[in-house]
């Protein structure tokens, strides 16, 4: 018998590492319950970020939550941070086993 699975949204935010604490704080306040963060390096329209030293670091924040919460977080990030910081976001539909955790 297949395991029962439940639909959720995976929101991935890639941003300057200096924003990590603020992003986690805001996402939690907007209803996200689970997140992971890791350092990444790469390039976007704003240029190359190699992560070789403090001011050059980039963080990838993964948030698992309901679609409405993901939308609210993304909208907030766009409005508050995207104007002056290097930020990119994408959404993916995912399935989880224990929906109350997210």
């Amino acid at each position: 018998m297949p395991l029962p699975k439940y639909d959720k949204t995976l929101l991935v935010i890639v941003a300057e590492a200096v924003l990590e604490r603020a992003l986690v704080r805001d996402a939690t306040q907007l209803g996200a319950q689970a997140w992971t963060a890791s350092e990444v390096r790469g390039a976007a329209r704003e240029g190359l970020r190699e992560g070789q030293w403090e001011a050059d670091r980039t963080v990838e924040l993964k948030l698992l939550c309901d679609a409405a919460v993901a939308d609210a977080i993304a909208e907030h990030v766009l409005r508050t941070y995207a104007g002056h910081y290097s930020v990119s976001m994408h959404f993916s539909p995912v399935q989880v086993l224990r929906p109350d955790r997210y």
């Binding site: 300057e16 603020a22 070789q52 001011a55 050059d56 508050t80 941070y81 104007g83 002056h84 910081y85």
Partner: protein, 313 residues
């Protein structure tokens, strides 16, 4: 004669310019920077316990005042160079704050030339980190209140500056060194005192790689970056040296205070400015501070400031 550690920096710059695949692991960079901050603090702390506190108070006050005043002096020049308010304030903050590694290289140069300096000089570095940042933020945001209510909160920012790794490790090291004294430090001396210069050399290799990457950006920003990056440090060094002379510091002490005044922060300041003045052009500040001023101070500035201290004391 250029100190041997500077050659490691130049090697890093060269590696970057020839697009070498040389890259130090991030964890090593982090470890080396923690080591250097702690070691500088411990070394200063050893001597701190022998100093009467009353003697240190004027020095601490003068360092705070110097760090706070530098951005206010620099700001009109930056505005005259047509930098917008946010950029001018943020860049001024980088010069108001200090570079620990420039200080370490100056200390190594003084040791090599046999010039003594106040052994508690690490305390000056610790207290000069924050005032310039506050001054720069005030300049960048003056009259612009409410423009960016988002992430910029003074409480959060001051927490990050005062409890960030630079100030925390420097002051922590100073305190541990002062409490432990010579006898307490003896068992860890082999790790924190003796290999210091070798570790500094390795760290400078990494910084050479980072600074080499910024050199390519200099062209993008034009003459203003060069004018500020090369022209401003010697002038600030005069101010630092004058302060040192007024405080009655030794020749080495005057040279170190001149170096601190001339140095630009590339660790605390970029992070603080990204939080407090997000509209400022971070690449402009970093290119000037790390791509131009840092190499200039290492290769040309420090020998110049030592000579200045010799003549003035």
């Amino acid at each position: 004669m250029i100190d041997v550690v500077v050659f490691f920096f130049l090697l890093g710059v060269f590696a970057r310019l020839v697009k070498s695949d040389l890259r130090l692991p991030e964890a090593l960079y982090e470890t080396l920077s923690i080591y250097l901050l702690l070691a500088i603090g411990l070394k200063g702390g050893l001597e701190l316990s022998r100093q009467p506190i009353a003697l240190l108070a004027p020095q601490v006050l003068a360092c705070v005042a110097l760090g706070f005043a530098i951005p206010f002096m620099l700001y009109p020049l930056l505005r005259a160079l047509r930098l917008v308010q946010a950029d001018a304030g943020a860049l001024a903050a980088h010069y108001g704050s200090v570079s620990v590694v420039t200080f370490a290289v100056a200390s190594a140069a003084l040791a090599r030339e046999g010039i003594a300096h106040e052994p508690h000089a690490a305390l000056w570095v610790a207290v000069m980190e924050a005032p310039g940042l506050v001054a720069g933020i005030l300049l960048a945001r003056w009259g612009a209140a409410g423009r960016d209510a988002g992430p910029s909160r003074w409480g959060e920012l001051m927490h990050d500056v005062l409890f960030g790794k630079s100030v925390l490790l420097l002051l922590g090291g100073l305190l541990i060194g002062a409490v432990a004294g010579d006898a307490g430090m003896a068992p860890i001396k082999a790790v924190f005192i003796d290999p210091f210069k070798g570790v500094l050399a390795l760290f400078l290799l990494e910084l050479g790689l980072v600074a080499g990457a910024r050199l390519a950006e200099v062209k993008r920003f034009g003459a203003a970056v060069l004018v500020v990056g090369v022209g401003v440090p010697p002038v600030l060094a005069l101010l630092g040296a004058a302060t040192g002379v007024m405080l009655g510091l030794s020749t080495g002490g005057v040279a170190l205070l001149a170096t601190l005044a001339a140095s630009a922060s590339y660790i605390a300041a970029p992070t603080a400015m990204r939080i407090a003045v997000p509209e400022a052009n971070a690449a402009l500040s970093i290119t000037t501070a790390l791509g131009v001023t840092f190499p200039f101070n290492l290769v040309v500035g420090i020998p110049l400031y030592i000579e200045l201290a010799r003549r003035w004391t």
